[in-house]
């Protein structure tokens, strides 16, 4: 069976696409042909792409001046994320969210009548051999972006 895989990376200002065709089922890694700012990296992992671990730029050590630093507002697709980084004793001690995507408006009465069937279970790691991964990637990347810019300010 013919299989084709295409990965794209839509950026606010431009789009990068690459096309890869393959004839057998062996794993293929597709990456955008170019990646913009490093803090945005990482195509969403699927079974075919190696899970591209986005290394956050949160450093551990003591390179920062004490103070409170506001990061840039980063687009999390559903809205903006903007954080405030608090540096104390040269270390990152707190991160507060100044902006967070939230569509909540006025108070609402949700019909809570229908709920007899909910079940619960503990989280358990599963085999990673899946076709597609669903997850909210946007928020975390925007978070990393905003925090990075806050920490950049703390350095200077």
């Amino acid at each position: 069976m013919k299989k084709a895989l295409l990965t794209g990376f839509v950026i606010v200002s431009f789009i990068v696409y690459s096309l890869h065709q393959r004839s057998d089922g062996s794993a293929v890694v597709i990456k955008p042909s170019s990646t913009p700012a490093a803090s945005q990296t990482a195509a969403a992992p699927s079974s075919n792409t190696s899970s591209s671990s986005t290394t956050s730029t949160v450093p551990a050590a003591t390179a920062y001046k004490d103070g409170r630093y506001t990061g840039s507002a980063a687009d999390a697709y559903y809205g903006f994320i903007q954080v405030l980084a608090v540096i104390s004793g040269g270390k990152l001690t707190d991160v507060q969210f100044l902006q967070y995507p939230n569509d909540r408006s006025n108070s609402v009465a949700i019909n809570s009548q229908a709920m007899p069937y909910l079940k619960q279970e503990a989280l358990q790691a599963q085999g990673a051999n899946v076709n597609i991964v669903s997850g909210a990637t946007d928020s975390s990347q925007a978070f990393i972006q905003s925090l990075s810019s806050a920490l950049d300010k703390a350095k200077s």
Binding site: V12, A42, A44, S46, G79, Y100, K119, A125, V133, S139
Partner: protein, 241 residues
């Protein structure tokens, strides 16, 4: 902010033109609806473009936004601080439309995934349902649930941030700590995505909202590392891939 898009087509008939069409379509949507592009219609509307000059498609999208707001008790609102930002609806809408483009080409077995939201169709290369892993909100490299879907939409709303204080900017800076992620399965990604977005904003009540919708199932992960499932959820999870 980038949004990764994956398109996989298993049909013999898949050709580059099909991919190109999907790519061009997403490009078009981004150009038209991005609130961050000064030339987009959304930006022009925020800059005061009179309603008489809005495109028919924009009016349709805004009608869908209003409809969604009504259906979700106000939890889905595309006007933030008085500015139009229909991104929360447009993403699922665009994936759904792109899937229609592929169907129109006679393609049956494929998926389109954009930023963790998925429209699947038909079967995978093994002739089985597509397996969709739900990412662990506390460990990005881990899958905590595997679903098997054929022609359905799967959307996850959430925050993959651990140990941070997340404040609700609207309701007096109350801390949002309950729901780490909420995954919704529905008949298509348009509906799954908009309901997942609204339900996530509802906090723990969100899964009850999904439970009250016919044809939708959800998997909610809370900060205590427990998952709550809607009544019919397990039928997607039971047949192990």
């Amino acid at each position: 902010m980038g949004m990764p898009i994956n398109v996989v087509i298993e049909d013999e008939a898949a050709d580059e033109a099909a991919f190109r069409e999907v790519r061009d379509y997403f490009h078009y949507v981004d150009d038209q609806y991005s609130p961050y592009k000064p030339g987009s219609e959304v930006s022009k509307i925020n800059a005061g473009l009179p309603k008489s000059k809005w495109t028919t498609e924009m009016k349709t999208v805004l009608k869908l936004c209003q409809q969604t707001k009504d259906q979700t008790g106000g939890y889905f609102d595309v006007f933030r601080c008085g500015r139009l930002d229909p991104s929360g609806l447009v993403k699922g809408w665009a994936i759904n439309n792109a899937a229609r483009l592929l169907k129109k080409r006679g393609l049956k077995n494929f998926y389109i995934e954009a930023g963790g939201d998925i429209q699947a169709s038909g079967r995978n290369d093994q002739g089985r349902p597509w397996s969709v892993g739900i990412r662990n909100p506390f460990n990005r490299d881990e899958i905590v649930k595997v679903l098997n879907v054929t022609t359905e939409g799967v959307a996850t709303s959430g925050t993959y941030i651990r140990g941070q204080h997340i404040y609700d900017p609207v309701n007096g800076h109350a801390e949002i700590k309950d729901v780490a992620s909420l995954t919704v399965i529905g008949p298509n990604i348009y509906d799954a995505d908009r309901f997942a977005t609204a339900a996530f904003a509802m906090g723990q009540a969100g899964i009850r909202f999904i439970e009250s919708l016919k044809g939708y199932e959800a998997y909610m992960i809370t900060s205590d590392k427990l998952a709550t499932l809607t009544g019919g959820f397990e039928r997607y999870a039971e047949t192990a891939a």
